[in-house]
Symmetry: D2
Subunit: 137 residues, 4 copies
């Protein structure tokens, strides 16, 4: 399996530092938008996850910067879910500019945390089912 | 009365946009640091305020940009409290660079919001007392 | 005259602070997106402005916070240009949530700065013409 | 060799998202402050590097999140330079809270880019010498 989702982000003025390149920390935000829009494309939202008392903090994150992104670039964020989540979920990302040039790729792993108890838990069943359905689709 | 507090902020790379100037939205953060350090200099923290169930959202904010701030500038944020708070509190700010040149000035007003009820309330008594004591000192 | 432009912004997780509300400094970015998309809707970009050697730093900015914005809200930013620019240009903003409730309003004034000389200049002729054409349209 | 530098960062309100934890993308900024203060502790600044026409974009970045950081935490960022730079330089980071608990660790690699030509170059001689002197000291 490898679920794949696409979304677009316009680079904002605030995102670019004085080198003229998008500041590296903003890729974390682009990944966040990728994840968030992936869920929305499956008919759900990360907001619902939190409404059910689950937060999803990061375990780790890796980013490889191939080429700079510039102000006003229209980026395409491709978000992959390479396997069904158990205690944690892995996301992979590729970011392209309008010419289709790969600018950045990365991955991160997130855990499912019960907000009330502060304890890790397994991925909620509805969420695993949702992913399974999209694999079959 | 006019309570006055000073704190320093080193401009980070992330703060500067491709014009080479500090991005305007970051002054909101510099004001936040000014407020937060003002409380700390009076022996308290904004964290304590929130631990007591009070959040302080902004009502309004004004900023006047005289001169740009640059990467690695060591800024001095002067934070003023011009009067004792009732339902709201007013802060005023002046930001100077190392040469003592005024770069930015502004103000904002914040309310005291009971986090549990979501309703505005008066400034907590301990906080008003704290300010009174510093006026007299 | 009063030129009016609309654009939408999805509130990101990074935009919201621990009070659960969009952090006040992010409205500066929402205004930036409003301005930038206003230009794009007239067939130009702020990037072109900079490519012609003009940067547009802020003179001032005012913001009034009526209601909080929340994570995942789909905001509508309405950007107004109330008069033709000369040495400076004024933008006004209103930000609504999906229910049409006014969350925030503000304005700012920007100058036209020759990047090479660092000196202020008048609004470029093509830009004034562009606005005039849109007033008549 | 392993050069080691320490600096402190107070977590700002803007840094924390609605989970109550520091937003993951801000660690990129904490690393930036770590690098920047490392240079300052050796008597130089990254600003000088750029004044000499060299920018240092990232090749990659890895971060591992052990424990959350909270609003108003006073973090200690320990920055390591594990070897002398040639075409690229590697930094490693550990971030601790006031209780000495390790919250985050990571690394990144940066290249030296000639700003005028846009081409990579070797680390400037003065910079390599500077590091050598600090290894011996």
């Amino acid at each position: 399996m490898k679920l794949e989702f696409k979304t677009q982000i316009r680079v904002r003025y605030v995102d670019v530092d004085q080198s003229g390149f998008v500041y590296n920390g903003n890729y974390a935000t682009y990944y966040e938008v990728g994840r968030s829009e992936a869920l929305r494309q499956m008919g759900h939202t990360y907001k619902e996850m939190e409404d059910q008392g689950i937060v999803m903090p990061l375990l780790n994150q890796y980013s490889r910067f191939h080429r700079p992104a510039y102000y006003d670039d229209l980026l395409t964020v491709v978000t992959y879910i390479p396997e069904l989540p158990k205690a944690k979920i892995r996301f992979e990302y590729k970011i392209f500019n309008e010419k289709g040039i790969l600018l950045n790729e990365g991955y991160n792993e997130l855990v499912f945390l019960n907000k009330a108890t502060g304890k890790p838990q397994r991925a909620p069943q509805w969420f695993v089912k949702l992913l399974e359905n999209h694999v079959l689709a």
